[in-house]
């Protein structure tokens, strides 16, 4: 042991006395410091995400150093003729290899350590809870160490395997292959995610791990199995290094070393089996989506829907995350389709166990995401019909797309993502939850042709067996015996979110933001801004109070899949919530404030940036009603926040001169109250508060009426 320690000390001495090597870890820490110090408005302040992105890029670069170090540790003496005396010393080859490896590993650990220290410093300053910080630090540190460990071992084996300086070229290629090439040209192209574990830096480009709300908790089994395999693989690389060294310098234990390398290879192969099985199961899930409806949007029957008055849903999570659901739908009989079966849409991963109509069991058929009831099973009478569907299954709806795996819906432990658009309860009609485009799956967006906007209905949901708090697009409260109850009237659906989430609210009746803990400082500031806006309007306008009361701020496009690429304009209303996607530049900034104000005052998804038909149109082609709506926001930005006209206009959206000029003039004269009066009159007269959903169906307001309103002097 004393010999080993001295060998290790010797290697450490070389590493720590080299000025360049000495400088690199602090430089790495400093770069992370700079990155985190720059977090702030107007960009996202997601600390976790910033640290994750840094690990994805800078750590990948530092792996280049790790592979070089593996080469250098052997090439500096073992592979140099002048150091042959080393081979004649009575030192075990295992000791020599492991001491070098341990020294290199200790050196590389500085990168992980400094990154952790910088992250911890910023996290404490931003008030990230201590237990969560420790979990984050543990995740990043383990991930770093595993990456450095395997890369260093790879460098060492290449040093002995490849003669001369060619080893550097081969190592460079190995580094590029193990990071970028494997990721982009093998895994992404062929959707071979079962090779993820061979990536030297699995954080590079992974969109699920990048999400603080679910990330490593959701993929904990992947990570655990992958780490076991990588550890066994690293052991194999080290065993190969030792065996190769014994071939270079004769040793009595050479045969044993070869056997040990073979055993380590067998161990690595065995360690891969559970990891591979994990992926086999996911590909099976994806294949079931293909079987569900062929996925080809061209060959589908058109979507049909019928109204529902009310839902009463009970959803229980059982062992192994198996869900048991009971959904009672009250349907107006008059709205049911005439002729042909009555079709409901329920996620294919949920198996229907029983269907009752008005309390009597009826036969049903299931095909993919669809549940068919014979029309004759439902009474042909006026009034309402109650359809009760019982179902169960494990919902871990995995899909692949180029460069990223995705989850359309899941329940795993406390991690919950159940968007209404993935039919975790029966949706009334024949809809298509996903479409297969050449090469990848697309999750249907609510309001689109595959999944039209759901007619409003009353909801009552009882959740049971979920270990953590679950948030929904409607308000909820704790029920008896660790249950949670959610109720709402006239909402288009119910989506559930659970995981590493927190609720940010400043005033008891104020705006709420549901986000992951790293976004809390940004969310607090945003909530304060929204509360201020609400107070501003409440003093003179009788706007609906329950709309957009909460913002669900998560890195997924509204109703999209976890792991999707963030899309521009990714926000929308659902229930009483505004779903806002999160990325570096799609965050809780002034644009999002405008969205919330707009959604609250006018409802629907016709937000300034959302109304696709109106985007980029010249002012004279934008309906006057829409311009007047924007004028409300414009007024707030100018009068409430004191913004300059240009800046306010940029945020509020295009407003024609005819609408804007009288407002500007009144404001210039200090007559903000007059502007409020005019706008309020239009708001009430044309019922601008109703959620219309599409700018083109806005009420027609004659321009003369607008002009006339300004002629009246107060």
């Amino acid at each position: 042991m004393r010999k080993w320690l001295r060998l290790w000390e010797q290697e450490c001495g070389w590493l720590w006395r080299n000025p360049v090597l000495l400088l690199l870890p602090p430089l790495y820490g400093f770069l992370l410091f700079l990155r985190l110090a720059r977090l702030g408005p107007p960009s996202s302040e997601d600390l976790y995400s910033a640290v994750f992105d840094f690990h994805g890029t800078m750590e990948t670069l530092s792996l280049g150093l790790a592979i070089w170090l593996g080469l250098a540790l052997l090439r500096r003496d073992v592979l140099r003729q002048g150091y042959e005396w080393l081979g004649t010393l009575p030192v075990s080859r295992v000791a020599l290899v492991t001491a070098k490896y341990a020294a290199g590993f200790a050196y590389l650990s500085q990168f992980a350590l400094l990154a952790a220290a910088v992250f911890a410093g910023f996290a404490v300053r931003r008030g990230l809870p201590g237990d969560l910080l420790l979990r984050h630090l543990g995740f990043f540190a383990l991930q770093d160490e595993w990456s450095y460990g395997v890369t260093l071992a790879l460098g060492m084996v290449l040093a002995l395997l490849i003669p001369g300086r060619l080893a550097y070229l081969v190592a460079f290629c190995a580094w590029i292959f193990g990071t970028y090439f494997l990721q982009h040209f093998v895994i992404a192209r062929y959707h071979w995610y079962f090779l993820d574990t061979f990536l030297l830096d699995p954080l590079l480009g992974d969109r699920i791990l990048a999400i603080e709300a679910w990330g490593y908790s959701l993929l904990s089994r992947d990570l655990f199995l992958s780490r076991i395999f990588v550890a066994a693989f690293t052991l194999w690389l080290l065993a190969c290094t030792t065996a190769l060294l014994m071939f270079r310098w004769p040793a009595a234990a050479r045969r044993k070393a070869v056997l040990a390398a073979a055993a380590a290879l067998a161990l690595a192969a065995v360690a891969y089996v559970p990891y591979g099985l994990l992926w086999q199961e996911r590909y099976r899930i994806e294949a079931s989506a293909l079987r569900a409806d062929g996925g080809d949007p061209e060959k589908r029957a058109p979507a049909v829907q019928f109204p529902v008055e009310a839902y009463r849903i009970t959803l229980a999570r059982g062992p192994n995350d198996v869900l048991s659901g009971t959904a009672e739908l009250t349907l107006p009989a008059s709205g049911l389709p005439r002729g042909g079966p009555v079709t409901f849409t329920l996620n294919r991963l949920l198996t229907v166990t029983r269907v009752q109509v008005d309390g009597k069991p009826v036969p049903w058929e299931r095909s993919g995401d669809h549940l068919f009831l014979a029309r004759s099973s439902l009474p042909a009478r006026a009034g309402t019909v109650t359809v009760r569907v019982e179902y169960r299954g494990r919902l871990f709806d995995w899909l692949s797309m180029p460069s990223s795996q995705r989850l359309a819906a899941f329940v795993q432990g406390g991690d919950v993502y159940l968007p209404a658009s993935q039919a975790w309860y029966p949706l009334p009609g024949r809809f298509y939850l996903k479409s297969l485009y050449p090469g990848y799956w697309v999750v249907s967006t609510p309001g689109g042709p595959n999944l039209p906007a759901m007619p409003p209905a009353a909801f009552r949901l009882l959740l049971r067996g979920f270990p953590g708090r679950v948030y929904a697009t409607v308000p909820g409260r704790p029920g008896p015996g660790r249950t949670q109850i959610f109720t709402a009237d006239q909402v288009d659906g119910l989506s559930l979110f659970g995981g590493n989430l927190t609720e940010v609210r400043l005033d008891p009746g104020g705006e709420t933001v549901i986000c992951s803990p790293s976004n809390v400082p940004e969310a607090r500031r945003f909530v304060a801004q929204v509360d201020r806006a609400r107070r501003y309007f409440a003093s003179w306008l009788d706007a609906p109070r329950d709309r957009a009361r909460r913002v669900i701020y998560l890195p997924l496009p509204p109703y999209g899949a976890v792991g999707d690429y963030p899309l521009s304009g990714s926000y929308g209303l659902s229930g009483q919530s505004l779903l806002a996607t999160e990325s570096t530049h799609l965050n809780l900034d002034s644009y999002r404030l405008v969205d919330v104000v707009h959604a609250w005052l006018f409802g629907g998804n016709d937000l300034p940036g959302w109304v696709v038909p109106l985007r980029g149109l010249p002012p004279d082609q934008i309906p006057l009603a829409q311009q007047i709506r924007r004028a409300f926001v414009y007024l707030y930005l100018r009068d409430g926040l004191g913004m300059a006209p240009d800046q306010a206009l940029k945020l509020a959206g295009t407003i024609g001169d005819a609408v804007r000029r009288p407002i500007d003039e009144a404001l210039r004269r200090g007559e903000a109250e007059r502007v409020k009066g005019v706008l309020k009159a239009f708001y009430e007269r044309y019922d601008l508060s109703r959620g219309l959903g599409d700018g083109r169906s806005l009420p027609a307001i004659p321009l003369q009426e607008w002009q006339k309103a300004w002629e009246v002097r107060p």
Partner: protein, 291 residues
Amino acid sequence: MIEIRGLSRRYGRRWALKGLDLTVEAGMFGLLGPNGAGKTTLMRILATLLPPTSGDALVEGVPLRSRPDEIRKLIGYLPQLFQVYPQMTGGEFLEYVALMKGVDDPRARRRSVEEVVEQVHLGEWIDRKAGTYSGGTRRRLGIAQALIGDPRVLIVDEPTAGLDPEERVRFRNLLATLSLRKTVLLSTHIVSDIESSCRRVAVLDRGELAMAGTTAELADRARGKVWEVRLAESELPEAASWQLVATRQEGSEVVCRVIAAERPAPEAKPLEPTLEDGYLALLRARGGEPA
């Protein structure tokens, strides 16, 4: 003692050593041979750095092929090219080597280092970084590391190459002293190094053992074949066909020392052969060119 039995080593298709049988007894043993004769290959095999293709060797009775790890405890090795971690001082390096050689007790280790430092006259350099050492000092450090742990067999490959005459003499004397109680295998192509310190010698040529015996026996290989011929300067080109060992100017004449089976010129005088003469005569007789 080293007993070599049928030792061979092949690199690709080329045999660097072919069926070598040789016994190296205690004391100083010289290994001579031209470049490419297989000296360094043999030294590296004996130093456990290279596995033989076939054959075996017993080092102090320990078989090389099956127990190389044990042999490492018995030998000290100075390679032809010796480098050392430049950031370490000589003292740190020797302590490091001593520990690797199993001198666990710190006091014993320090004593061991002091002894070898004294032996190789490295005292004034011992606290300086090895990266600042001259070639000679570095080789002294090399022999010091080989001596650490008091090995029973010392294998030194071209130890005097690149040293100034004074250093060379000092080195030869040191090796001669060490050979009193160890087996010292000295490989060189500088015949005078062997002449002055070795009692027994072996000559390798193209991977084969050309001769093994005492230095006198090697010198005897040239007995009756060494001549002194005096030539006028203008006649010197005639000597191009002779195997000249040495030439020197004396007045208007050039005195040539020639190896030839028969008297090269009528006025040639026979001379007493030296070791170098014997070595050259041996290689000439084998049809090879000495280095």
